[in-house]
């Protein structure tokens, strides 16, 4: 066990409680454990506290009570070893009005593994002019510069808050390619998103934040073993349906997977199903 905890990078959160005002917690008694080698997708309704959770893990805001551990570091202490292992891309990027090159020169020394050639390659992939300036480019382009910068830090922990917001369609595709190519076994990537369709094929493990805590943590494989996602013409013809959405071409349903059927996880449908039929779905998964 000693060996394991030493080689795996981990994030452990125990009984985290946090609020911006007293007695109005945004997160309450939240527990979570993340391990390296996986890309996590953090889903939750608007205002559920996704960004607050990411900011807690990165040491930007501090817990009122409870414990966060990132590789034996407590984020709130903001130790150098911790800070250089972590990168967060905020939902709203705010960049100084300087040249892209200059930005990389100023901020890269905070990350000892910063990879300049990777940074330049990523800019090329995103079709950002190498000698451009941050005040001459659009919002979406700024966001792409920051995504490229974040990946080029080669940080062990990468957090992307709504990374595809503001990106055009080809850039979303490019983003998926870049994550698929840059992700290493010893990293943890966590992406919070509403735009599940942009990213669903990239995610290994789903986290759902609701009612101030993580109510579900499950690998995609695990979900499709327990549930089947399919289209049916007639609801009465299909058994074990937990949740359904009607449409012109019949219904899309989430049903208990009793016959070991193979189906593709529909993340949006799954999220809606968890929101509407919380108890029946959560009862199928490991209690957190």
């Amino acid at each position: 066990m000693y060996y394991l905890t030493n080689t795996l990078n981990m994030i452990t959160i125990q009984n985290l409680t946090f609020g911006y005002q007293k007695n109005k917690p945004v997160l309450a008694n939240l527990n979570l454990q993340l391990e390296s080698g996986k890309i996590y997708g953090l889903l939750g309704a608007n205002g559920a506290g996704k960004s607050s959770l990411l900011h807690q893990i990165c040491g930007i805001i501090f817990p009122q009570s409870g414990k966060i551990e990132v590789d034996q570091h407590e984020p709130a202490k903001r130790k150098l070893d911790f800070l250089k292992s972590i990168y967060i891309l905020p939902e709203e990027v705010d960049t100084p009005n300087i040249a892209i090159k200059e930005y990389a020169e100023i901020y890269s020394p905070f990350y000892e593994k910063f990879d300049f050639s990777l940074f330049n390659n990523l800019l090329t992939d995103f079709e950002i002019p190498e000698h451009g300036s941050l005040h001459q480019i659009s919002y979406g382009q700024k966001k792409k510069v920051m995504i490229a910068f974040g990946i080029a830090t080669r940080s062990k922990y990468l957090f992307f808050d709504e990374p595809t917001n503001g990106l055009d369609i080809p850039s979303k595709k490019q983003f998926r390619k870049i994550i698929a190519s840059a992700f290493e076994e010893d990293q943890i990537i966590m992406i919070s998103t509403h735009q599940v369709r942009d990213l669903d094929q990239l995610i290994d493990c789903i986290l759902i934040l609701d009612d101030k805590k993580i109510i579900l943590q499950a690998d995609v494989n695990d979900i499709t073993e327990k549930l089947v996602f399919k289209q049916v013409l007639d609801l009465s013809q299909s058994a074990n349906v937990i949740y359904s959405e009607g449409g012109l071409k019949g219904h899309v349903v989430v049903a208990k997977n009793v016959n070991q059927e193979n189906s593709k996880l529909d993340m949006e449908l799954f999220f809606n199903a968890v929101s509407a039929e919380k108890n029946s779905i959560l009862s199928l998964f490991k209690k957190l």
């Binding site: 390619k177 994550i179 698929a180 190519s181 992700f183 094929q201 995610i203 494989n221 593709k264």
Partner: protein
């Protein structure tokens, strides 16, 4: 790649690999693209491609050489053809028989039609 079919993504990637073998674009004992290369090409996480390769390995379609990557099993093409035949026998033929039975189409007629079809296509 568009993952629109209602099959887990790892199985859709497995079909993609099997199609390359059936089309003989990927040949016996040839090295196939690495997990990372396929992950980038298909825009998925490497864990998904790893799962595909483990699945194909358990079906004797690919094998791994430690540190070198994944290779096509010499017998993969035969296996895939056999499993296609089995799929035809179990999944497609019964529905054909069902229709024949309903409209009273006898097997002799079918043999005739099939001979005509083969002559037309093979000539």
């Amino acid at each position: 790649m568009d993952f629109n079919v209602n099959l887990p993504i790892y199985l859709q990637i497995a079909e993609y690999v099997c199609d390359r073998i059936l089309l003989q674009q990927w040949l016996p004992d040839e090295k196939i693209p690495s997990i990372r290369e396929l992950a980038i090409e298909l825009e998925v996480t490497h864990n998904t491609v790893l799962r595909t390769f483990e699945h194909l390995q358990s079906k004797n379609i690919v094998y791994t050489k430690r540190g070198l990557g994944y290779f096509i099993e010499p017998n993969a093409l035969n296996l895939l053809n056999a499993s296609r035949k089995e799929h035809f026998l179990k999944e497609e033929l019964p529905s054909l028989f069902y229709k024949m039975n309903i409209i009273g189409f006898e097997i002799d007629e079918l043999v005739n039609e099939f001979e005509k079809f083969k002559n037309k296509n093979n000539s």
